[in-house]
């Protein structure tokens, strides 16, 4: 960091030079011989934090004028003024204080006192700044955490409904767009920025009641029977009841109250023919009205198990024609006004960004989660909640849950390899967890780099990985395992005391026998081995009956 900048403003060259002499060894001193020069310097360097030693009596623009100018331009948070008072005339000093001067030093200058005054003032400001930053940071952290909790909760609900992956994120974005238009159009609802943020956040919870709906109804690919539809309709009331069952102090928080409105009334209709309460017109809270519209728009433009996706234009005209329920005419206007924006937003889903995170870090996010760097290299990057559920947070490869839940459904699995990282516990004990973690990360990265695009790397246990190979012949499998082994033998983890990663690798291969492959691997995983011992390779095709026994 450079030295703190100090601007000395005094019409007497002698006095400036004297102060410069006193201060220049510790500070970056700039001089101005009158007020006009001073404000020019401050205006030109408007990103910098300035300390100003300011004389009062000067030609062109005096010290009071400079203080007024600073106030008028709201520079107070980056410009701190210490007055130089020549005579001890208290009126001038008081007037300067009233105009925002922080302190004063009087002539004749005592070099020690000048130093101390400046240094102490600076310390005080630095502390205040740090405190402000800390408070901001804390606030942001809290916000982020509740955002995250809401996301997790809503993804749990969405998870049961496999076909609406991005639905929640979409509803949130559409809600935001409609609210922006609404605010532009009317002050009727008197929505502040934080009200709007709250509605967007709470919109993620609109379908939590669906947790109570049986999966066969939820994911039924055809029309629901009248009984099933009645069952489906209970989700809005169930969701709101879940929230009202919260302890009073939680229920009374603005987020939960808003979420309650949205859960309960996002299927009401403006004409009073919706459910569960048949509310009409403005009796329906605006939060629920907006989310209801967003929900319908996204349902129309997405593919569902019971329907194909409509185009943006069709969806807009269906809603405005009243084919999809009755809406507040004001909101229909908002939807039309937001139409262009929505079209762009959803024509290319990558453009949907979490607004706040985007602003803060500028990092690109997919459906609300920061893109993981190495996820990009792995071509099988899952989206949204899939990431949350199926990616190991340390190594960014798939986790055990993915292996157990998703892989059995994959066709063409011809081989699976098991990679044990040897001596991991020793490394953790000897060098610390951080080094152990680095070894795991490095192992995962290396494995990903050594396999083909369609092969999948999984962190199965604390110190082992599985590689699931797509369509692979016996010889090719043997070569691949040897290649991986050799590569690791040569590999040195940088910066880490010339640390080698020692792995044991084995596996099983057999075309068209996925079940046997999985069985053989679980046998391998359960088979205790001595440290450093190499693992066997099985070829199911050559083993006949023996293969099915292991």
């Amino acid at each position: 960091m450079g030295k703190q900048k100090i601007l000395i403003v005094d019409d007497s060259e002698m006095n400036r030079a004297l102060l410069q002499d006193i201060l220049e060894d510790r500070y970056d001193v700039v001089e101005a011989e009158n007020g006009v020069q001073a404000v020019n310097i401050l205006a030109k360097n408007d990103k910098d934090f300035w300390f100003v030693l300011l004389d009062i009596m000067m030609p062109e623009m005096n010290g009071f004028d400079v203080l007024n100018y600073i106030n008028k331009h709201y520079w107070n948070d980056r410009v701190v003024v210490i007055m130089i008072s020549s005579d001890d005339s208290p009126e001038n000093i008081i007037r300067a204080y009233n105009l925002g001067a922080f302190d004063y030093i009087s002539r004749p200058f005592d070099s020690v006192i000048v130093h101390k005054r400046v240094a102490n003032t600076m310390l005080l400001y630095a502390r205040q700044h740090d405190l402000e930053d800390a408070v901001k940071e804390q606030f942001y952290e809290q916000q982020k955490n509740s955002d995250l909790m809401v996301s997790i909760l809503s993804y749990i609900v969405e998870f049961r409904n496999g076909e609406s992956r991005l639905h929640i994120q979409h509803v949130k974005n559409i809600t935001e767009q409609i609210l922006m238009q609404l605010n532009r159009l009317t002050d009727k609802y008197d929505l502040s920025k934080s009200d709007m943020d709250l509605i967007c956040m709470a919109s993620a919870l609109h379908d939590i009641g669906k947790i109570s709906i049986p999966e066969n109804i939820l994911n039924k690919p055809g029309r629901l029977t009248p009984e099933e539809f009645e069952m489906m309709k209970t989700h809005s009331e169930v969701g709101s009841n879940m929230l009202s069952a919260l302890p009073a102090e939680q229920f009374n928080s603005p987020l939960v109250k808003t979420a309650y409105e949205i859960c309960r009334w996002h299927h009401e209709r403006y004409d009073g023919r919706g459910y569960p309460d048949g509310l009409k017109g403005e009796d329906i809270p605006i939060s629920a009205q907006v989310v209801a519209m967003a929900d319908v728009y996204d349902a129309l433009t997405s593919e569902r198990c019971y329907k194909k996706a409509f185009s943006h234009d069709t969806a807009i005209s269906m809603i405005t024609n009243g084919q999809c329920g009755a809406f507040n005419p004001l909101l229909l206007q908002c939807l039309t006004a937001a139409s262009d924006k929505l079209k762009v937003l959803f024509a290319n889903p990558d453009m949907v960004q979490d607004r706040r995170k985007g602003e803060r870090t500028g990092s690109k996010t997919v459906s609300g989660y920061p893109a993981r760097r190495s996820m990009k290299e792995m071509t099988y990057s899952p989206a949204g909640y899939m990431k949350l559920l199926y990616i190991d947070s340390l190594t960014n490869v798939f986790n055990r849950r993915y292996y157990e839940e998703q892989l059995p459904n994959f066709p063409n699995i011809d081989a699976i390899a098991l990679v044990d990282v040897n001596r991991l516990e020793q490394i953790n004990n000897q060098y610390g967890q951080y080094v152990g973690d680095t070894v795991l990360k490095c192992t995962a990265e290396t494995l990903v780099s050594l396999v083909r695009k369609n092969d999948q790397v999984i962190r199965y246990g604390s110190d082992n990985f599985l590689i699931v190979f797509d369509s692979m012949e016996k010889d090719c499998f043997a070569r691949k395992l040897a290649e991986i082994k050799n590569y690791f033998d040569e590999l040195v983890v940088d910066d880490l005391l010339q640390l080698h990663i020692s792995i044991s690798i084995g596996g099983v291969q057999g075309v068209g026998k996925p079940k046997e492959l999985f069985d053989a691997i679980s046998h391998l995983l359960n088979h205790a081995k001595n440290p450093g011992e190499q693992l066997p390779i099985y070829y199911l095709d050559e083993m006949g009956d023996i293969g099915s026994k292991i």
Partner: protein
């Protein structure tokens, strides 16, 4: 002639200024720099053209320098004119100007002598 003798000659407080600024080199440097300072000339010129605002500013600056460098005698004559001009009492200011001029030139002569002795 050393700096202390010089200060004695024009009525300055050497011990005070060195105590305050902590280093004799610093005092010496600014003392010699005062030879180039134009505040006094500015004052005389402004008085001659009856620009009393400008005169006040000039004598005010001079006063500040005197304070910083411990020029006690010159400080006293400049502070009186400063106060008079601030009250728009031009008559008093004119009356005191001779004294100011005498004190100023006494100091300048001593300073030149000191400078010569340093260079010689």
């Amino acid at each position: 002639m050393n700096l202390k003798e010089c200060y004695l000659k024009f009525g300055g407080d050497y011990d005070e200024v060195v105590g305050r600024l902590r280093r004799e080199q610093l005092v010496t440097k600014f003392f010699l720099k005062f030879l180039d300072d134009k505040s006094f000339e500015l004052y005389e010129e402004a008085m001659a053209r009856k620009d009393y605002d400008e005169a006040l500013r000039a004598v005010h600056t001079l006063k500040g320098i005197c304070q910083n460098l411990g020029f006690t005698r010159l400080y006293h004559s400049s502070v009186q004119i400063n106060n008079a001009l601030r009250e728009n009492d031009v008559g008093t200011a004119i009356r005191l100007s001779d004294q100011l001029s005498m004190d100023y030139h006494l100091l300048i002569e001593a300073a030149q002598e000191f400078k010569a002795s340093m260079e010689g």
